[in-house]
């Protein structure tokens, strides 16, 4: 009994330390964002929302934020629209073409991010289409397509074949089977991929920096350049904003569906 308790305590302490390690930078950033002084002081001195006011009154910050959101939403829709036909063809027709596309689409995920960034930098330069917002959208959609591919494939895998066969015996055509049987089951997975790609695109720095120009600065790029020139607590506001958005997105997924299963746990 004693050894059980000791083991439990050891686990608890260990996990708590990991949790503290993970939470530490987030706590520092968010508390600095409520700081009353212009200096980076921790623990914070006095509570105020003045940096939030400043953030939302500065068109360059708000502009960068809006651009980030537009890019992220567009990239997520584009990325998912690429993944859905591939995952469907793999599931329904065991298509070799789809397998090949899935392999190619998964490649960016096993290449170091800086290689992907250079590839896109080159590409947009060579096709002479530089510094445009759609460059970032397309690059993000392609870079992150592996995520919706995996998730939507997981979704189709959870459609039981007997359901499809039952529908077919009742006379459903392929498109009707897709709409009435597969889609409702796969939909939560599609929504999860949209959220995932949005959050990842929102936070991506290197590609956005390399393929975008000054006019298409995203929030991470703006934070990075301000970080190189000197601190302001306004940057922390941006960080808190992103943290909140990410947290909201994942909470939504957890509410909407089975998060552990989506992440690969059984049942």
């Amino acid at each position: 009994m004693m050894t059980d308790k000791a083991a439990w305590l050891a686990r608890f302490v260990f996990l708590t330390l990991v949790a503290i390690f993970l939470a530490m930078p987030l706590i520092v950033v968010s508390s600095v964002s409520f700081n009353d002084t212009a200096q980076m002081v921790f623990p914070p001195q006095g509570l105020s929302l003045r940096w939030y006011e400043e953030f939302f009154n500065d068109p360059t910050w708000v502009g960068a934020f809006e651009r980030s959101v537009i890019i992220a939403l567009s990239a997520s829709v584009l990325s998912t629209s690429l993944a859905l036909p591939i995952a469907y063809a793999q599931w329904k027709h065991r298509s070799k073409v789809a397998d090949a596309l899935a392999a190619l689409g998964g490649l960016p995920f096993i290449l170091p991010p800086v290689v992907i960034a250079i590839v896109f930098l080159l590409f947009w330069g060579i096709v002479q289409h530089v510094g445009r917002i759609e460059n970032i959208i397309v690059s993000h959609a392609i870079t992150f397509v592996a995520m919706p591919l995996v998730m939507i494939t997981l979704g189709f895998a959870s459609v039981e074949q007997t359901l499809v066969e039952a529908a077919e015996t009742m006379g459903a055509r392929e498109d009707q089977v897709f709409r009435s049987i597969a889609l409702p089951i796969v939909l939560p997975f599609i929504i999860a991929s949209l959220i995932f790609v949005t959050i990842f695109s929102l936070n991506e720095y290197l590609i956005a920096y390399m393929v975008g120009g000054f006019a298409t600065q995203t929030l991470p790029v703006k934070i990075f350049s301000s970080m190189r020139t000197g601190f302001t607590p306004t940057m922390c506001v941006a960080a808190v904003l992103f943290l909140t958005l990410g947290l909201a997105g994942f909470l939504a997924i957890a509410r909407l569906g089975n998060l552990p299963k989506l992440m690969g746990a059984k049942g």
Binding site: M1, M2, T3, D4
Partner: protein, 347 residues
């Protein structure tokens, strides 16, 4: 001699009591089956004996020593798991020899012992095979050999045969029983299959809702069920509500007749009769005076099952084909209960 004793053992998960104040004694060298429907707590009870779950209260005593707090690895109980849990990264020989390696047995002796054990489970010479190359029955044997390698003080099995097909399962039951008798090892076996329990065990512990319902030999439990649950769960029975008019005499509807009841069950008001103990006669020949209308007949070849309506109750009887040939012309039949076969149960 009493080997294992379980005293007032309880286990709760959250609000639910999975095992509720169970006390049991298991004699040395016996083959004991925990039998019950799924969720009755039999597996949890086994896992507490193995040390894989800590009881909420109560104690487990082995040969007079309290082992409730002893960790699993120090108990030296061999266990066969439902999913077998053969280590996929080790071959057959390494699986069986794992417990010996843990006890620092020399490689040479270990190989000898492993090959002895494989002979014992009738699977000689497969030491170097991968466990994934074995058939279901072979994996079963390897799992049994692995659990026996450490010469355990207690041999525990958690529904080990449930994954096998019916024929192989029957075969393994007999083999397992013979193996146990040969080794004289105290064995606890968990199953939900009453036929399996009847075939294999010296003693059956019937469980339901975390409580022990009855402990006894297979025949005991079948012939003299302690309560309605046991009577219903083990085999088929007719449970008839009766009124006791005098010791040993009951009234069912308008009819009064004697039953040879168990001394301590004299208070009971439910009569339990197995279908094969219902004797069908021509309407006039019934000694008890009970008469029933035949409502349904099922001829399964080796016997005939007959459903009758009697005093507003349905009664099931089985008759031999020969007997049925004599009486099958009648739409009404007399019903008798053979001597010493009808038991009164407490309601």
């Amino acid at each position: 001699m009493i080997g294992l004793e379980v005293a007032n053992l309880s286990k709760s998960f959250g609000a639910g009591k999975v095992v509720d104040d169970v006390s049991l004694s298991i004699e040395d060298g016996k083959f004991v089956c925990f039998l019950g429907p799924s969720g009755c707590g039999k597996t949890t009870l086994l896992r507490m004996i193995a040390g894989l779950e800590q009881p909420t209260s109560g104690s487990i005593i082995l040969n007079g020593r309290d082992i409730t707090g002893t960790p699993t690895h120090a108990r030296n109980f061999g266990m066969v798991f439902q999913a077998l849990a053969l280590f996929p990264h080790l071959n057959v020989g390494q699986n069986i020899g794992y417990s010996l390696r843990l006890r620092n047995m020399e490689q040479k002796f270990r190989r000898e012992r492993v090959s002895e054990l494989l002979d014992l489970v009738a699977l000689p010479g497969v030491e170097d095979r991968s466990v994934n190359q074995l058939s279901g029955g072979q994996r079963q044997r390897v799992a049994i050999a692995r659990a026996l390698a450490q010469e355990p003080r207690l041999f525990l099995m958690d529904e080990p045969l449930s994954a096998l097909d019916a024929k192989l399962r029957d075969h393994m039951q007999v083999e397992l029983r013979q193996l146990q008798q040969k080794l004289k090892i105290t064995t606890v076996f968990v199953t939900h299959d009453q036929r399996e329990a009847m075939t294999i065990a010296d003693t059956i512990v019937v469980m339901s809702e975390g409580k022990v319902q009855q402990v006894g030999s297979p025949v005991d439990i079948y012939r003299r069920p302690a309560n309605k649950f046991v009577a219903n769960f083990i085999g088929q029975s007719n449970l008839i509500d009766v009124e006791q008019v005098a010791p040993g005499t009951v009234r069912f509807g308008e009819t009064t007749f004697p039953v040879a009841s168990n001394e301590n069950q004299l208070e009971g008001t439910t009569l339990c009769v197995r279908p094969e103990d219902v004797i069908l006669t021509a309407p006039g020949d019934s000694a008890s005076g009970l008469i029933g209308d035949v409502s349904f007949v099922r001829d399964v070849g080796s016997s005939v099952e007959v459903w009758l309506q009697c005093n507003g109750r349905e009664i099931l009887a089985t008759a031999s084909p020969a007997r049925w040939a004599e009486i099958s012309g009648n739409e009404r039949l007399g019903i008798d209960f053979s001597a010493n076969s009808a038991t009164l149960l407490a309601s």
